[in-house]
C-alpha cells in the first residue's frame, strides 16, 4: 500500500505552495470540519482503516494544493488504496460532494477538472432555463394565419 512519505525538499515546496494558497482554502485544508467529513467518508461510509484514511486525506490534500488534478483523483486513489476503480469513484463522488464542490471556485487551476465545467456549487444562484422559442404559442396571431 502507498506510504504518504515526503522528503525535506518536497515538504519545503509543499509548504511554500500551501502558504501561497488563499487564506480561505488553507483554512479548509487544515480545518477539523474537513477532517471530520473525510473521517465520515473513509471510515463511516467505506470502512477504511487508519492507513486508508491517511491515504485518502493525503490525496485530498494534494488535490487542494493543486498537485493532483481533480479528474485524476479517483484513479490515483484506486491505485494508492489498491482498490477497484468503481469503489474509488464512489469515494471520489462522496468527497467531491462534501469537500471539492463547495469550494470549486477557490481550487487551484491545475486541480480544476478537464473538459466540461462542473456544475456550480448549489449555493450560487443559477439562471432560470428559458423555454425554447418554437414552443411558444402566439395566441394573438393564431387566427391571423
Amino acid at each position: 500500500m502507498f506510504k504518504p512519505t515526503l522528503n525535506q525538499e518536497e515538504i519545503k515546496k509543499r509548504q511554500e505552495l500551501y502558504l501561497s494558497l488563499p487564506q480561505h482554502l488553507r483554512q479548509i485544508i487544515a480545518s477539523e470540519e474537513t477532517a471530520d467529513k473525510l473521517y465520515n467518508i473513509s471510515w463511516g461510509k467505506n470502512q477504511l482503516k487508519s492507513d486508508g484514511q491517511t491515504i485518502v486525506s493525503f490525496t485530498v490534500g494534494e488535490t487542494l494544493l493543486g498537485i493532483i488534478n481533480l479528474s485524476d483523483f479517483a484513479s490515483i486513489l484506486a491505485k494508492r488504496l489498491e482498490i477497484d476503480q468503481a469503489k474509488a469513484e464512489k469515494i471520489y463522488q462522496e468527497i467531491n460532494l462534501e469537500i471539492f464542490r463547495p469550494i470549486m471556485a477557490y481550487l487551484p487551476k491545475q486541480s480544476q477538472p478537464i473538459g466540461p465545467k462542473p456544475t456550480p456549487p448549489p449555493n450560487i444562484p443559477t439562471q432560470k432555463p428559458q423555454p425554447a422559442a418554437e414552443n411558444i404559442v402566439d395566441l394573438k396571431n393564431i387566427f391571423k394565419e
Binding site: 515526503l6 518536497e10 515538504i11 488553507r26 485544508i29 487544515a30 493525503f58 490525496t59 490534500g61 498537485i67
Partner: protein, 634 residues
Amino acid sequence: MNKIIKSIRKNFSKKSNLIIAGIVVFVLILPNFVYALSGSGIMKAAFRWMANLIIKFFGLLLRLAGTTFEAVLQIGFKNSLMNVAKIGWEVSRDFANMLFILFMIIVAFATILRVERYGAKQLLPRIIIIALLINFSLVICAIIIDFSNLTADIFINNTNQANTDAGKKDIASTIVDGLQIASALTPQDCKAFDDKIKLCDQKSGEDKDDCIDEATLAKIRCESKMQQANTISENDNLLDIVSSAILGSIVIFIAAFSLFAGAILLLIRIVAIWFLVILSPIVFICYILPGLRPYWEKWWRSFINWCIFAPAFAFFIWLAARIITERRTEIETAFVGGSNSLGSSISGFFSVPGILLNYLLIIGILIGGLITAKQLGIYGANMAIGIGKKMAGGAKDWAKEKATRGLAKPGEWVSGKMGAAMNVPVLGRALRALPGMKQLAQAPAAAMTAERKRIGEERKKLERHSNDTLKDLFPTFNKSQKMAASQILATRKDLKEGRNLREKDIIASLKMANRYGDDQVKEILANRPSLAPEVGKSIEEATKKINPAKVDSVQSSEFQNPAVVDAMLKNWGGGHMAKLDETNREGLQKIQDAIYGLGADRTARETALNTINPKLKIYIDNTALKATGILTYD
C-alpha cells in the same frame, strides 16, 4: 513604689506636726533639761550608751541591707532562672492551645449568628497572628528579658570590674563603705584584717610589702575607730550625743532603706517576670477577643515596665558606686581622719558641706534611681505599647489581606455549597430556618463579587493604554490594577516579560487572580500555561482549558517548553491544530516534533497517540494538512 510614696506622703501629712514637735522636744528641750538636772558624767555615759546602741542597730541594718542587695544583684540578672518560668509556661501554652479551639468555636457561632463584634472578618487576622505567637511567646519574652538583663549587666559588671581593680569587694560593699558614717559609727570585726595580712604574706616581691603595709594600716584604722566609738570624750555634751544619735540614725536608715528597697524591687522583678512569662500564652489569646484586649495591653505594659526597670536601676547603682569611688578619699578623711568620738564624727559629717552633699547625693541617687527606674519602665512600656499597636496594625492589615484572599476560594466554595444545600427541598428549608445561615452562605460570595467588580472597574480604566504603557506603569500599580493590567495584556496576547513587566510580576498577578476564581486565572493561563503550577494547577489542566479560539493567545515561548507541548499533544484536538496552523506554524511544528518523539516508527507513534489522545489521532489520520508534510507519523 508609688503606693509606698503616697502612703508616706499621706501619713506624713497627717502626723507631720506631731513628728516635728517630738523631734524639737527630744533634740532641744530634753537634753538641756537632763543636762540641767544632772550635769554628771553618769548621765552622759548612759546617753552615749543608748546612742551607740541605736547607731549600732542602724549600722547593722545597713550592713544587712548591703548584703541583701548584693545577693539579689547576684541573681537578679541571671537567665538560668528562666527555667522555672519555662515549666509553668509549657503548661500555660498547652492550655492556651486548648482555648484556641474554644475561640474558634466561638468565632464560628458568632459568624453564624451575625454578631459583628465577633465577626470572622475582624477576628481571622488576629487568630492567625496569635496562633503563631502563642507558641513563640517564650522566645519573644526571653529575647526581651535577655536584652534587659544584658544591658543591666553591662553597668553591674563595669562597677564590679572597677572595684576589683581598686582592690574592693562588691557593689553593695562599695556603697556601704562609701556611706562611711556607718563604718565610723558601727563596730567592725578588725580580725578580718589579720586574714588579709596572712594572704599578703603569700605574695612575693614589692607587691607583698605594699599589700602588708596597706592591710596593716587598715587594721590600725579599724582598731582606732573601734576605740573611738567606745571612748567617752569629755568634750561631748548631751546635746551633741543625742542629736548625733538621731541624725546619724536617720541618715543610716535612709541608706539602709534605699538598699533594701532596691533589693526588694529586684526580687519582685524576678518573680513578676516569671509570672508574666508563664501567663504569656494565655494573655496572647486575650488579644483575639475584643472584650479581653485590655488584659493583653496590661500584660505588655507590665512586662516592658519590669524589663526596662533593670537596666535603668543598674545605671543608677553604677552612678552611685562611681561617685563613691571618685570621692572616697574625701569621705574617709571627713569621717575617720580627725574625729575622736561619736559626737565629733557626726558633727564633722554635718559641718563639712561637701561631705554632706556627697552623702545626700548618693542616697538621692539610690532612692531617686529606684523611682526613676520605675517611671522609666512605665514610660518605656507605654511607648513600647504605642509602637506595638502601630506594628500590630500593619501586621493585621497584612494578615487580613492574606486571610481574606486565602479564604476567598474556600469561602466561595462554602458559599456555593451552602447555596446549593439551601436549594435542596427539606434540608434547604431547615438551613434557611437557622438564624444567619442565609447571610453566611452569601457573605464570602459578596466579598468576592465586590473585589471582582473593583478589578473590572480598573480594567475599564486601563483599557485605553497601550501594551507598552501598561508594562511601563506596571510597578506603580496597586494590586487590583496589576490584576486588571495582567488580564488586559493576556487578552491582547502580550502577557510576556518586557519593559518594566518582569516574570515575577506576571506570576504575582496570576497568584492574585487565582484567589478570585477560575475565570480570572483562565485568561492568564491561556497565555502562559507553563505558569499553572504556580497556582497549584497542572499544565495539562491549563492547556485543556484553552479552547481552539484561544490558541493564538499562547505565547510562542510556551512552545519551547516540552512539558507544555506534551500537554497540548495530550489534550488538544483538530480545532487547536487548525488554529495553530493559521496563527503559529512554528508551534505546530513543535507539535509535529512531539509526535515524532512518541515512538521510533510510524506504528509506535500511531499507537502511542491513540493511547494518549485518540481524538487527535483521528484528526491527524484524516486531515488534508498532511499533504504539506506536517502532522504526519512519517
